[in-house]
Structure formats: C-alpha cells, structure tokens
Homo-oligomer: 219 residues x 2
C-alpha cells in the first residue's frame, strides 16, 4: 500500500482490507506491506504547477514495496492517481478511480457527482475515465472540509458542509455521489446523502482483495 | 511495524498511532512502514514446543523494514515478544510488554492481572519483567475469546467472558488489569472492568510516538 495521504485514510483503508476478508483465523488474511508516508509532495500544489511532482516519491515507495515482496499495489488517495503513471514497478496497480467509478456506474446513473480536492478536479481524474458526465462538488466547501478532517475534525458542522455539497450535486442531476477523496468517507455517511454514496476507500479495498485472490489463484 | 498478529490488531495499532499525533496537517505525522504478515509461525504452538519458532520470520521482517528506512521498530503482539531477542536489526525496538507494564505500575498496584494467550503466560513475559506479582487470567476463557475475535466475533457474549475473567482476577487481588493480547482491547473496554484497564496496544502506540519524537529531535 502506497499510503500516508493522509495517515487516517490509510488506517481506514487497512481496517477495510482486514474487515473485507471472511477469515476464520489470522492465516486467511493476505500479507500487507504499507508505506504510510505523509511527506509525499502536495498533490494540489503540484496540479497547480506550484510545487514539485509527487511522481518520483510515489515511484520510489512503490519500488521499495515491490522489493519487500509486494505483488499488487494500491494507493488510497484519489488525487495521487494523477501521478499513477509514474508508478511502474512491474506489478499490477489497482486503480482507486476505476474501482470507485465501476461501483458508481453499476447504479446506471445519467450523471455522477464527485466530492474531491483540487488536484482530482484539475486533472479531471474521474471525468476523463467516465462514460457519463461527472459533476464536481464545490471546491470552496470540499477543500476546507478535507483539510479540517486531516487535522482531526470529526464535527457535525463539517459533515453538514459535505452533505450540503452533495445535495447541490444531486439538485444539479447527479444520481450517484462518489466520496472521491479518502478523507470524505471518514465523516460523510450514506445517511447524509439522498442518492447512493460510493466510498472510494471501500471500493479500492474490495478491488484490491479481488485482485489478491486472483494473484493467489494464479500462483 | 512488525505486524499481522493479528491483522485487525495491526489496523487498531495504526489507527491509534495516527490518532495519537496532534496534527494540523498530514506532514505532522511520522512515516510508518508496516509489514502486516499473518503467516508468522504460531506463537502458542512454538511456546508449547509443537511448532517452528517465529523468531527467524520476525527477524527477517524487521530487517526488511530497516532496509526500507525504519528507525524504530514496534510489534503490536504481546506473545511475539517472547522472540523479541531474535529481532536484532540495529535500531531501537519499543517493547510492548515494557510499555503496558509501565502504564500498569503507574497505578501503584500490589498485584496486576493479565488477560493473555498461552505463549505470553508460558513464557511469563509480564511476570518476569514486573516488580509486583502478576496473576494470569483463565486461559480456558481468554484463548477461545481471542480466537473468536480473530475470526471477527465482536459479540456481547465474548466481551462478557473476558469481563468475567477480569473480575476473577480482581477478586484474587489484581488492582490493575492489562489487556495483554492485542485482540482483547478490540472488544473489552474500561467500562467492562472495575479497576484500571491497560490497553497494551494503546500503550505501545504512546511509547512508539514518544520514541519517534526523540529520534526526530536527535537527528
């Protein structure tokens, strides 16, 4: 796992990976190697052309994990997928964007709303991969909410702000909402949204476990 | 982090490490490298002389983490500390036994009760390190409860069984209880016990963060 963006989201992803295994005992679980590195260059600044690319650091993390034995790579950070092409470590990479989009499209929506940060929107990570139109949540609401969650905020006010942004997208025609930043599902729940809410972290955990089963079977 | 014993306990430890940092943003967190390996040889079988030693696998995991840059090692599994001497990777190792015992002794108990599995008791990991007497919880209750928790059980019945074992220890004179197996605090809470309950996972997280601050300062 190429993690640390942010650290709480990485812990959330690991918990979902563990919970996703129907285990009778420890040995039924896959081995998981994690590099939780909160010092990866800022994705939003890089997307604005105002900071260094996170690509080389992500590539080095991936290489280190593969050297330790990783056979599948996953990265629980939507925005960092803007630099996924830099991760070329010779093993399969499970895309969080593809995993979340697949779960959203299963609802056959005419339009999808995404709650995402600046880099994810600027690089159009969901829009460029989607066959249906993708509506972006108000960055002036989502970005401060994500920053607050990274600083430990789990307040009703911040959850209400994210719910309000989701409601705006639904009013504009979105029939599914993707929590397209790993901090968002730490606070926003299905009960806060009137249409299906796709948790990108949970979607990546499911896709990663599915890939792990296939890798294990092929060995 | 030398993890995976069990996987849910490793996820719990990571969540506590993250929550333990007073962070304003991602970059305030330490980098954490994790090898969550649920295939380490069984500690209880090894302590009974009925299975291979986990020592060589733990040593190899530690070496791999240090090669990736780890400057401090922690292992969220009490029983595996029976083979801590095998972990000789040239960087500080934060002992979970010492961390939990220190928190227990801060309450100045005349006796400490431990809820632990077979290996931890057979190797007397707490007793041999403690200046006050250590009473062992009924293994016929604790071991099945731990196995059930590893298989996903989060039931009130299992929590009540652990609480009953703790109550027996209190009746026998224990003035502090240590949840001395990382699965126990996944279910047993302070409200279930009438004397202070020390969570060995939380104690290790606090000790690890303290060691990380010192390492960072010395750099």
């Amino acid at each position: 796992m190429i993690g640390g963006m942010g650290p709480a989201a990485t812990a959330d992803f690991l918990a979902r990976l563990v919970a996703g295994v129907a285990a009778g005992s420890d040995i039924d679980h896959p081995r998981v190697l994690i590099d939780s590195n909160p010092h990866v260059p800022d994705r939003n600044a890089a997307a604005r052309g105002e900071g260094p690319s996170p690509g080389p650091v992500l590539a080095a993390m991936a290489q280190g994990l593969v050297e330790q034995g990783a056979q599948i790579l996953a990265m629980p950070c939507n925005a960092a997928h803007g630099w996924a092409e830099a991760i070329n470590a010779g093993v399969p990479f499970v895309s969080m964007i593809d995993a979340a989009l697949a779960e959203a499209l299963a609802h056959r929506p005419r339009a999808i709303g995404v709650l995402a940060v600046g880099a994810t929107l600027a690089l159009d990570l969901y829009g460029r991969a989607s066959p249906v139109s993708v509506l972006a949540g108000d960055l002036a609401v989502v970005q401060p909410a994500v920053n607050a969650i990274k600083a430990g905020d789990r307040s009703d006010a911040t959850r209400a702000a994210l719910a309000g942004s989701a409601a705006q997208l639904v009013a504009a025609g979105a029939e599914v909402i993707i929590a397209a930043c790993t901090e968002v599902p730490l606070l926003l729940r299905q009960a806060d949204v009137t249409v299906p809410l796709i948790d990108s972290t949970a979607a990546l955990a499911r896709a990663t476990l599915a890939a792990a089963v296939l890798t294990d079977r092929d060995r």
